[in-house]
């Protein structure tokens, strides 16, 4: 990192300070997380794990909102993203822990936190992309949506074309990631396990499991967020209410 900063200085890129600040931040943040995890792992209790999970969810929810160009006003933007991530990520994580991985107890933090982290990280991206596409699409195509309303279509039919595009936008990156896995780069979790000395075939099995879990979790998250978001765009008379967006 020091070498990179020095190079930046030599090339007059003016990035040296940002590189060094980022390096320090990464180190500090990860050290802190390491400490938190150390404490969490030594006190195995559903309450603490749940608290950690909810904090992770809250931060993910904020990230989703920050990435939207047009947001739902009045806290709905935060609520929609967070709720869909909660439903999809938590459901898939609990399923994975209880049925597939099966540690004792099922909420053992060594398994629960990393699994949830991976799920939230990827679901966050899918939900952010699809909600952004939904609100942007609804805005750009408002005359077409209202044209359908004037022809007596209900809210779901009227926004159907925008909804489809939005879910596709959220799900396609995951499909691409699955296609590239193992061929373009070794996924992170597998890398970690191999570095720790696990046999490659064992690591691969876990990686496949993770990719399927993450893909389905993200997919469900995107579908849920788009459905809830598109419902929010219409009022009880099924009128398009773009005034509900900033």
């Amino acid at each position: 990192m020091l070498a990179l900063a020095a190079l930046s200085h030599a090339l007059r890129l003016r990035l040296a300070r940002r590189i060094l600040v980022a390096a320090v931040r990464t180190t500090v943040q990860l050290l802190l997380i390491g400490l938190v995890l150390k404490v969490l792992f030594s006190h195995v209790h559903l309450g603490w794990v749940s608290l950690m999970a909810l904090i992770m969810l809250a931060i993910a929810g904020r990230e989703v909102m920050a990435r939207q160009h047009r947001r739902f006003s009045g806290g709905w933007g935060y609520a929609l993203g967070t709720f869909s991530m909660f439903l999809s990520s938590f459901a898939v994580t609990v399923l994975a822990l209880t049925v597939i991985v099966g540690p004792e107890p099922w909420y053992r933090p060594q398994y629960a936190i990393p699994l949830l982290g991976m799920l939230l990280g990827n679901t966050m991206t899918s939900v952010a992309l699809s909600l952004d596409r939904l609100t942007e699409g609804a805005w750009q195509q408002r005359t077409a949506i209202e044209a359908r309303l004037t022809l007596g279509h209900d809210w779901s039919q009227a926004i159907a074309h925008v909804r489809r595009e939005s879910v596709r936008t959220g799900v396609i990156p995951i499909i691409n990631a699955m296609a590239a896995a193992g061929v373009v780069s070794l996924p992170g979790m597998m890398t970690g396990q191999i570095l720790a000395g696990a046999p490659p075939m064992e690591a691969v099995r876990y990686q496949v499991l993770i990719m399927f879990l993450v893909s389905s979790g993200s997919g469900f998250g995107a579908v849920g967020a788009v459905w809830l978001g598109s419902r929010r765009l219409f009022d009880k008379r099924q009128r398009l209410r773009l005034d509900r967006l900033h």
Binding site: Q141, T143, A144, I145, E146, A147, R148, L149, T150, L151, G152, H153, D154, W155, H161, D235, K236, R237, Q238, R239, L240, R241
Partner: protein, 211 residues
């Protein structure tokens, strides 16, 4: 010539009644349309004609009461109201590349009345001229057989021959089905041709126009 099924109740009487309509600076506006009546509305740009039509079609939240054949708006579900009270905006919008996708029954009976070829159902929207789009949008709306038509400058982009065809079609539709029409127009000659009453919207209020 296409014939629409006649309405059962042939009596005259109020088809659409609006009371104390307010919406985004428009109003209060009162309005009444009888069966088979055609009323024109004109007014300066920005007076609120489009707002009025959108409020009557329940596209915008608004205050006031609107009744269709005596039944209040709230007694209908949103989509059901909008099927009965059909709004035609000045610019049509299309959500699929193919024309036919917008017509559930691909009903071709009205096409000749507006000088449109039957093959038009298979065309792509991009291929249509603005006049063709406008005429198709009207046919698309009439497929629902609305009881009230709210027309926002329906002939603005049309050549004189097409204007005549549209006016003739609407007149026939109105007389055969008892539909009431509220027609926004800037053309005094057209207003004289099609309307039995002429209202002016000015400063958010609706008044009878001076002849």
């Amino acid at each position: 010539m296409h014939l629409w099924p006649q309405e059962e109740d042939q009596g005259s009487g109020s088809r659409l009644r609006a009371e104390n309509i307010r919406s985004h600076g428009l109003g209060p506006v009162d309005l009444s349309l009888d069966r088979s009546e055609c009323v024109c509305v004109s007014g300066p740009s920005g007076a609120g004609k489009t707002l009025l039509l959108r409020a009557l079609a329940d596209l915008d939240p608004h205050e006031g009461e609107v009744l269709l054949d005596g039944k209040p708006l709230d007694a209908f579900a949103g989509p059901e109201w909008r099927r009965q009270v059909g709004l035609l905006p000045p610019e049509s919008a299309w959500w699929d590349d193919r024309v036919g996708a917008h017509f559930p029954q691909e009903d071709k009976e009205l096409l000749p009345a507006l000088a449109l070829p039957p093959e038009i159902m298979g065309w792509s929207i991009a291929r249509l001229s603005s006049g063709e789009r406008q005429r198709l949008a009207l046919i698309r709306l009439l497929a629902n057989r609305p009881r009230v038509l709210l027309l926002d400058e329906p002939t603005a982009n049309l050549d004189p021959a097409s204007v005549e065809r549209v006016e003739a079609l609407l007149s026939r539709y109105r007389q055969q089905t008892g539909t009431a029409i509220l027609w926004v127009s800037h053309d005094p000659a057209q207003i004289a041709r099609v309307a039995s009453r002429h209202l002016r919207l000015h400063g958010g209020r609706l008044v009878e126009a001076q002849p």
